[in-house]
């Protein structure tokens, strides 16, 4: 990964760049990393590990969530995050991760504060539900506000250099992802001028440039892979740069390849297992042996299904693919650092 912050290829007209030009550059060098995936694939955990990995070696990253779930606080096991950037972890080799829970209403109020000087009225309006109402009138407005805040964080500078080397966004799940990122469409609903409109134009330029990489988290299972492939097609059609596919919770395959198919259909040579165990010094009663055989069949069924899902993925996705193992100790803070190290190492 290049640690350069500040020199970026000149922005091109969205229609001017081909899709290939958007994605040929190293996805890990992007400034904005959008992490999505089907529900239950562990996208928040992966986003957190990626933020840690990108911060290692003395850099600073920002991890952002936008769905009000407080997922980041849960992953880092801290109190709920306010609408405020604060340090949440120290990265390996120095460097830090800050976190922010963006809230559309707070972002809208922030605008009003900036442009209309609402003063204390802002809080009252929020309490009354007026701010939520305003963000509901045009559903695209919420997304414009959320991505607008993210863009502001990406492009904020201090003494002429970016405050954040990279921003990692824990984005909505794949089903809502493209609607969320396709700010151009949302803008069509809004007034043609005004402060939010001009910021949205900046968001469009950022999202449709090589400074952005969208990473999709999947498991090697049928439905998550299907959703991932659908999302890739949608992203490509919307001209949004897909960075990588991150296969999460990969488990070890112990059976030799040639035994998988037969074991998966229930054929395990119990006699051979028994004699092998005896040779290894284990004389087990028949019911324990039966249990081991049953586990072997289940293992083989899973491996066969994972292999099929992995092949389906490989047939359609030729870009970068990263695999993260299932951590048997669970994903606590230590596990997060372990995953971060693997990302640093493998990308």
């Amino acid at each position: 990964m290049r640690g350069v912050c500040g020199e970026w290829p000149p922005l091109r007209d969205r229609q001017g760049a081909t899709y290939a030009e958007l994605v040929t550059s190293d996805p890990w060098a992007a400034r904005l990393h959008v992490v999505s995936g089907k529900g239950g694939t562990g996208k928040t955990t992966v986003a957190a590990a990626l933020a840690l990995a990108l911060a290692s070696g003395g850099r600073r990253t920002l991890l952002v969530e936008v769905e009000g779930r407080q997922g980041i606080a849960q992953v880092f096991d801290t109190a709920p995050l306010p609408y405020e950037e604060r340090r949440i972890a120290v990265a390996p080799g120095g460097g830090e991760v800050r976190a922010l829970a963006v809230d559309a209403e707070a972002a809208l109020l922030e605008y009003f504060e900036m442009f209309y000087k609402l003063g204390v009225a802002g809080r009252t309006l929020k309490r009354m539900g007026a701010v939520e109402f305003a963000t509901t009138l045009a559903p695209g407005l919420r997304d414009v506000l959320l991505t607008g805040k993210v863009k502001e964080c990406v492009s904020r500078t201090e003494n002429g250099r970016p405050v954040y080397d990279a921003v990692v966004l824990d984005a909505p799940p794949t089903g809502r992802l493209v609607t969320f990122l396709d700010v151009t469409k949302a803008m069509a609903e809004l007034a043609r001028t005004g402060p939010i409109h001009s910021q949205a134009e900046g968001v469009v330029a950022l999202l449709h440039s090589p400074r952005t990489a969208v990473h999709l988290v999947t498991l090697l299972e049928d439905l998550p892979v299907t959703e991932t492939l659908d999302a890739i097609r949608e992203l490509e059609a919307a001209h949004l740069p897909v960075g990588s596919v991150i296969v999460n919770r990969v488990r070890e395959q112990w059976l030799p390849d040639r035994s998988v198919a037969s074991a998966a259909s229930g054929r395990v040579d119990a006699g051979r297992v028994r004699s092998g165990l005896l040779a290894a010094g284990l004389d087990l009663p028949p019911e324990v042996l039966d249990g081991l055989v049953a586990e072997t069949v289940e293992h083989a069924v899973r491996v066969a299904a994972e292999t099929a899902a992995g092949e389906r993925l490989a047939a359609e996705w030729h870009g970068p693919r990263l695999e993260l193992p299932q951590l048997l100790d669970g994903v606590d803070l230590g596990g997060l650092y372990e995953l971060a190290e693997m990302i640093t190492h493998d990308r």
Binding site: K38, G39, G40, T41, G42, G68, R69, Y111, F112, F115, L118, A121, T124, L125, M128, G129, A130, E132, F133, L137, A138, P139, L141, P172, P173, E189, A191, G194, I196, L223, R251, E252, W254, L255, P256, S259, G266, D269, R272, V273, G276, A279, A280, G281, L282, L284, V288, G291, L292, V293, A294, E295, T296, E298, H299, V301, R302, A305, L328, G330
Partner: protein
């Protein structure tokens, strides 16, 4: 516990809730099928089933009406939220007024992309099915919400949008809201209203305003329905099952949900922990790994021992995660559902899940092996 609950004639509604990707739809369908095959008249309301599961239930297309599932005494339906909303509008309005509402661009927004509409409509549909009295058990799947709380909160949130106060404040802030409010918010509100119309454009506000005034007369009916559904959820015949997978985030969401249900006085039946990996052979991981080192030429035996050791570790991890939950919620019954390898895409698969839901004894060694279809 599951069979007792399903067999008890007092159980009229089972609501499956939990975070996305934990198997709520499959669990709902499996419970419904099990109850139906044990003699109850059952309908299952699914939200967004995976394609093959939908086909297995005969739900190839949205119909918004329950239809019999081929080959089993069960009715199933898939929610069409837009149509459910339209039907509500027609039910509470004259045809002319309804047509006016349905053509309004703001209505299109509210009825299709307002976060919470799906939840609201799921609960509305539940109320309708219940009122028809054709079934003695209704099993409901809940939408894959941003947060598990959405379906409890959605009706109230939507009421607030539809009751007209907000839009009046935005379109004519000088007159609405009463003196007290004006004093409190002062000029801020005028500025806010002006800002909102600058941002979203005057047309949207005009549409919203027209929508709300057309909606005004039916609003009372809407709110009454929402209140009734809420009461239905709190009634004795309802059982909530919180569904989770043995992953930290899913279990945390489940814990949150259990607390919330308790806070709302909603009847919780228990936690369904889906896709667990119970150990089928009593042999410690350490012993298995040591033996695997010594298995020498037998690659098969070494593989069997290593995959067993991994499984023991995985089961321990799942137990630790579950222990965290039960430590905080000792009174909540837990049902563990061992993973069924492969996709659940037919009635046989649903029956298998149903068996695992009901059978809480550890599976017999060597038995319950199921191959991929």
């Amino acid at each position: 516990m599951i069979d007792e609950m399903l067999a008890d004639p007092r159980t009229r509604i089972v609501v499956c809730c939990g975070s996305g990707g934990v198997g709520k739809t499959t669990t709902s369908a499996a419970l419904a099928l099990r109850a139906a095959e044990r003699g109850r008249r059952v309908v299952v309301l699914t939200i967004d089933p995976a394609r093959r599961l939908a086909q297995a239930l005969g739900l190839d297309e949205l119909s918004n009406e329950p239809a019999p599932v081929e080959g089993v005494p069960l009715d199933a339906m898939m929610l069409d939220m837009r149509r459910t909303f339209d039907e509500m509008v027609y039910a509470h309005s004259t045809p002319e007024r309804a047509a006016k509402i349905i053509d309004n661009p703001f209505y299109k927004t509210i009825s299709s992309s307002f976060s919470g509409t799906q939840e609201y409509m799921a609960m509305e549909k539940l109320g309708q099915l219940c009122a028809r009295g054709e079934w003695d058990l209704i099993v409901v799947d809940t939408p894959p919400s941003r947060s598990a709380l959405d379906f409890l909160d959605a009706p109230q949130r939507m009421s607030r949008f539809l009751d007209g106060r907000m839009i009046r404040l935005l379109s004519s802030p000088a007159r609405a809201g009463g003196k007290g409010l004006r004093k409190l918010v002062g000029a801020g509100f005028g500025l806010f209203a002006k800002g909102v119309s600058t941002i979203i454009g005057g047309q949207l506000l005009t549409d919203a305003s027209a929508f709300v005034s057309a909606f005004d007369t039916m609003f009372g009916g809407f709110r009454e329905r929402a209140t009734k559904t809420y009461e239905l959820l709190r009634s004795e015949g309802t059982a909530f099952l919180v569904v989770a997978a043995p992953e930290p985030d899913a279990l945390r969401e489940a814990a949150y949900f259990v607390d919330r249900l308790a806070g709302e006085d909603m009847p919780l039946a228990g936690l369904v922990l889906n896709r667990t990996h119970p150990v089928l052979a009593p042999l410690s991981a350490a012993r298995a790994r040591t033996a695997a080192e010594n298995a020498g030429s037998s690659r098969l035996a070494a593989a069997v021992l290593r995959l067993h050791a991994d499984r023991v570790d995985l089961a321990e991890r799942e137990d630790r995660l579950l222990a965290r939950f039960t430590g905080a919620h000792p009174a909540v019954p837990v049902v563990k559902v061992p993973v069924v390898a492969g996709d659940i895409s037919d009635l046989a698969g649903l029956r298998e899940v149903g068996d695992r839901l009901a059978d809480q004894a550890p599976p017999a060694a060597g038995g319950r092996v199921r191959s991929l279809r």
